[in-house]
């Protein structure tokens, strides 16, 4: 089955968050994720997209199907050139928020996905890289 190559979703508003969720659902369904996984992935992308809108105002998310030793998955990279995060360790703690939210966005996204990495430089921006692997089903 042919799977679409990289998809880019510009993020600058709440409407773009919805678009990102729809795009990732469509791609993840093609890759072969279960309906439950689709919701988990959509929730994770929603969290990172919200972070972009709230803190950096604009950025971009790229979605790509990936394959590794017989398993298929999805790679999500969220990039922004916003203010960056001074203390990543703190930002990855549950309940820590400078934006008045629940402070569960980034740590929550990490728990929703299989692999999660974040790099950030103050004044330069933030990049979140997440992967999830499809479990064989049906």
């Amino acid at each position: 089955m042919a799977v679409a190559a990289e998809t880019r979703v510009p993020i600058a508003s709440e409407a773009d968050i919805v678009a990102a969720r729809q795009q990732v659902r469509a791609l993840a369904a093609q890759v072969g994720f279960s309906p439950t996984d689709l919701v988990l992935i959509a929730t994770a992308i929603s969290e990172v997209a919200r972070n972009i809108v709230q803190y950096a105002r604009r950025g971009e998310i790229t979605l790509s199907p990936i394959e590794q030793s017989n398993r298929r998955g999805i790679l999500i990279i969220a990039r922004d050139e916003g203010p960056g995060i001074p203390d990543l360790e703190l930002a990855m703690q549950d309940g820590y928020s400078t934006g008045g939210g629940l402070g569960l966005g980034l740590p929550g996204a990490r728990r929703l996905m299989d692999e999660f990495a974040i790099t950030s430089e103050v004044g330069k921006g933030t990049t979140v890289t997440m992967k999830k692997w499809a479990r064989p089903h049906g």
């Binding site: 409407a15 929730t43 929703l112």
Partner: protein, 322 residues
């Protein structure tokens, strides 16, 4: 005279579309439209007056030779009026003074075309027809100096592109406004708070919950709790595809606010996938009463309110004397 009176009442389109004097200057600068272009255009005024009639007549003959074009002018009187306006515009192109009032007039004409749903292909086709016709007239007028004719034509091309841009902007502006109004309308109708029984409200939430919608939803719920003296609310989220931490936070705040108003909220319709994602996110819903489905939620609400649902025949049997 009538037109002038209307103009005074309606807000200016340049303001509404945020095309300020500076913006007009920026557009002109981008087109490299300068004083020498204004001069060249004005030098063509005599020619324009001379040929306005034949150009416009030729264009409408062309337009009316197409089925699509004829559809817009079923009324000969309307056609004559439009032709008169087009002739005036044709001459206006060579009269200088391309400032805010000129732009306002262009926007108004654009809006008029949008209102009658004139397709942009006909609109742009019209400009193309004018340009082609004018080009041939210019070559005729300067048979020995085609360089001059071409220079004049390029100046006209700049102004025409400025005008086309304004016309297309009115189309986009109008459509965007329609879209916004529709979104607002959908938001209004998409959060109905229904009273099921005395004291019991149902709030079915369907679709995407963004910040604005969450706010409206909460406000409407609180108003209805007060006006209906509700004590229990069943909030059903079966139709919400994804609940991320922000949306969950909205729900928690809605429930808290309702509690302060003296109403208990029962949350129903959490799908297994959403339940899993909320647990992964670490959202604390322990303070919220959740019941699997809407039916269960209503049963729980009835219980809280002291209602009992009894089948008719059982009631009849009980009422019958032994």
């Amino acid at each position: 005279m009538i037109e002038r009176a209307e103009r005074a009442i309606e807000p200016s389109l340049t303001q509404e579309m945020e095309i300020t004097g500076e913006e007009i200057e920026r557009r002109k600068a981008f087109l490299e439209f300068g004083d020498e272009d204004v001069e060249r255009l004005m030098s063509m005024n005599e020619l324009a007056q001379q040929y306005a009639d034949s150009v416009i007549e030729a264009f409408y003959r062309h337009l009316l030779s197409f089925e699509e074009g004829r559809a817009f002018f079923p009324d000969p009187a309307l056609l004559e009026r439009v032709k008169r306006k087009q002739k005036a515009y044709f001459v206006r192109l060579t009269q200088g003074n391309y400032g805010p009032q000129y732009v306002e007039d262009r926007l108004r004409i654009g809006l008029l075309h949008e209102r009658i749903n004139l397709p942009t292909k006909l609109y742009l086709g019209m400009y193309n027809f004018y340009l082609r016709t004018v080009a041939s007239y210019l070559l005729e007028a300067y048979p020995q100096d085609s360089k001059k004719a071409f220079g004049l034509f390029l100046s006209l091309l700049k102004l025409v592109f400025l005008d086309i841009n304004l016309a297309i902007d009115t189309y986009i502006h109008k459509r965007e406004r329609t879209l916004r109004l529709q979104q607002e309308a959908i938001r209004e109708i998409s959060t109905p708070v229904l009273q099921l029984r005395q004291g019991l409200l149902i709030l079915p939430i369907i679709g995407v919950v963004d910040s604005l919608r969450a706010l409206q939803l909460t406000e409407q719920l609180l108003r209805t709790i007060r006006s209906n003296r509700a004590r229990v609310v069943v909030m059903d989220i079966t139709g919400v595809p994804v609940v991320d931490s922000k949306v969950a936070n909205h729900f928690i705040q809605t429930v808290e606010a309702a509690r302060l108003m003296g109403a208990t909220v029962i949350l129903t319709g959490l799908s297994p996938a959403i339940a899993r994602s909320l647990v992964s996110l670490g959202v604390d819903l322990s303070r919220i009463r959740t019941v699997g489905d809407l039916q269960g939620g209503i049963e729980e609400a009835d219980h809280l309110l002291g209602y009992r649902v009894v089948k008719g025949e059982e009631l009849d049997a009980r009422a019958r004397p032994a």
